[in-house]
């Protein structure tokens, strides 16, 4: 029996409205129960779990390398960020040093992922508020990025491209060409979206002052990512706890103090520009060298080595049949995913499979702010608010 709100005695004329899990504006399978006074939301209750797949439990039954494919599917709009979070946590456990080329490619690809994820967000947010064309423009540009990912990793969405110790394979020759083209052309496209939305009076009417979250509330709820920065808190893990050599890149952390839907919109747009800056730097300063660490007991040997040397063959056999053994211990590694703080808390008992892997999913924490945003506002604002948090239900339910 699904959960629902009970009517308060004396307030029987209020309507209890079920929204979702199939409602197109709940971005997946979020179910909301709203108590309405007229069209104003008085109380709300969210019901999650419609996309529960048991990722965290599944981690315990798979080797570390196998786990990477699962992380793609949690936040299916930012698979490379999830790959990165998982690999970094495991590498922290192993105290493994990654060659700079691999780190730079990782940074480049995760920033492209951020742009790609924000594009999907912008498109669906805009279509929720009736601006149909922006949706298709965003998907047009996203297609270019997906092609880049496919070119590099062989897959459009479920990339699984990062491995513990580096990358799965070296990217193909000339793979930076389309990236450079994208970096050149994308600012114009961004301007195009802004022409349609940023100063549009109807867009302003729908977003300014809607779904306000104060900085104190944002911190108390545990908001992170653009939603937090939209409330004026300058916190970005890429800057505050740099990982994967982000400290070597120059970029700004955009913040807005208003804390409304419009502020979050502006922050995300600016983030895309900053990501573009990082990508440009990554292209310009891409170091030469190997893309996998020199750690034969962890990283798969090259095909050539496996075929010609006995050590290579043995390592290959051991890694494929058994996997690698990290030392006993526990680590927490967080990254700044497009949605906020994506953390992996990993416990190892020395076996080739994680003893426990908990994911601190940004969408899950961010979703908590929805109640604060929508109570006392109209139903139409609920749609705008859900869109502005940018949740991915796969990540919420895990």
């Amino acid at each position: 029996m699904p959960v629902t709100l009970e009517k308060i005695p004396g307030q029987e004329e209020r309507v209890i409205l079920n929204m979702g899990p199939q409602h197109p504006s709940t971005h997946g399978v979020l179910r909301l129960v709203l108590e309405l006074e007229g069209e104003t939301v008085v109380r709300s209750l969210y019901d999650i779990g419609y996309l529960h797949t048991g990722f965290e439990k599944s981690f315990e039954a798979k080797t570390y390398t196998q786990c990477i494919t699962l992380t793609d599917r949690m936040d299916y709009l930012a698979p490379l960020s999830n790959n990165l979070g998982f690999c970094l946590a495991t590498e922290k456990l192993l105290e493994l040093e990654i060659p700079p080329t691999a780190q730079w490619i990782r940074v480049l690809l995760t920033e492209l992922t951020r742009i790609q994820s924000h594009l999907v967000w912008l498109g669906s947010h805009a279509i929720d508020l009736g601006a149909m064309s922006v949706f298709l423009y965003c998907f047009r540009e996203r297609e270019i990025l997906e092609t880049i990912f496919e070119n590099v990793a062989g897959q459009r969405m479920m990339t699984s491209y990062f491995r513990v110790g580096g990358l799965a394979v070296e990217p193909p020759l000339g793979w930076l060409k389309p990236v450079e083209k994208f970096v050149r052309e994308f600012p114009d496209h961004l301007r195009e979206y802004e022409d349609l939305l940023t100063k549009n009076p109807i867009w302003l009417e729908r977003t300014v002052g809607v779904g306000k979250v104060s900085a104190e509330d944002a911190v108390a709820i545990g908001l992170s990512g653009p939603s937090l920065r939209g409330s004026g808190v300058k916190w970005d893990i890429r800057k505050n706890q740099p990982y994967s050599s982000y400290e070597k890149f120059e970029f700004d952390v955009p913040t807005r103090s208003e804390g409304d839907v419009y502020a979050r919109y502006l922050v995300r747009l600016e983030e895309m520009r900053q990501s573009l800056r990082i990508v440009r730097q990554a292209i310009d300063g891409m170091p030469e060298g190997r893309v996998r660490a020199n750690a034969p007991h962890i990283v798969m040997p090259d095909r050539e080595e496996m075929k010609t040397s006995i050590e290579g063959l043995i390592y290959h056999f051991k890694l494929v049949t058994e996997g690698f053994h990290p030392p006993i211990g526990e680590v927490y590694q967080a990254i700044e995913s497009p949605r906020g703080e994506l953390g992996f808390y990993m416990v190892s008992d020395g076996s080739p499979k994680p003893f426990r892997c908990h994911v601190r999913a940004p969408s899950f924490a961010n979703l908590q702010s929805l109640g604060k945003m929508i109570e006392g506002r109209l139903i139409a604002d609920v749609v705008a608010c859900i869109g502005s948090i940018d949740i991915i239900l796969g990540e919420v339910d895990r």
Binding site: E39, A126, M132, L136, N200, I202, E205, L378
Partner: protein, 333 residues
Amino acid sequence: MATLSDTELFLLVTMIKIAVVMFVLMTTVAYLSWLERKVVAHIQSRWGPYLVGPHGLLQPLADGVKFLFKEDIVPLEVDRVVYWLAPFLSFALAFLSIAVIPFGGTFTIQGRTFNFQITDVNVGLLFIFAVTSLGVYSIVLAGWSANSKYSFFGGLRSSAQMISYETAMGLAVVGTLMIAGTLSLRGIVDGQSGTWVIGTFNTYLPRWNIFVQPVGFFVYLTAAVAETNRIPFDLPEGEAEYSNMVTVSCLATLLFFGGWHGPLFGPGWLRMLLPIFWFCLKVFCFLFFYIWMRGTLPRFRYDQLMSFGWKFLLPLGLLNVLATSFVVAWLSA
């Protein structure tokens, strides 16, 4: 051919007119959906329908066939009579208003003159307003009969929206009525023939109402978009909107853009048919504008829409009426 009596001729011509107008309107409505899909698709860098026939031109036909073969699903808890009645009402009313719309000058058969119009009612404008405002019923009934909270909200919102924008729309056309001094649509258009002459200086600008009633036109256009439930006012979406779109576009053409008036040239038959062409062209421009807007704008929230209607459009319409009446009184004095 034996000569027909006047009554017989009148009946025959009227029947033919009705048949032709209905045919054209139905086709227009069907192809408007094709046009909308194509135009919006190209705005959004897509192709739109292109598989059924060249450029997807047979798509409306295919859609129609599909609808005919589709199973009608009636939810269990609905009020059946009303559930069936609402769409009928909506379509019937949408088509009814076309009866008084003139789309050209006159033609002569056997020495008798006929209008390019099904019937010239001397209160044509009032008739259209009466019929379109009845359209609210179809929406309320549809929202009510489906017995679902969502459609109920939609129906309520939509009817509130239509009623409030009806007033603004009514006020917007009052200015043109004062200038024309008649409620007959034909009369209003006749008043817009020729060019503006200031003193003895011929401006060569067509004598269209848009040049003296820009505010009225703005209010009318905005209210008309809301009235037909199009973006950015499209809280509830429905497809009977197409024929309503045609009606309000026709009305905008008649009231503000000189109806069928345009340059005439060539032999007699061309001079007779050109007005119809100009009329259709102007209407088409409005329809295109509607579709264009759909590809560009986001949507208003319900309360914002209401306050826009009541607090901005309505006062603006009133001011326009006031200003126009002063000018008209001053000129006639």
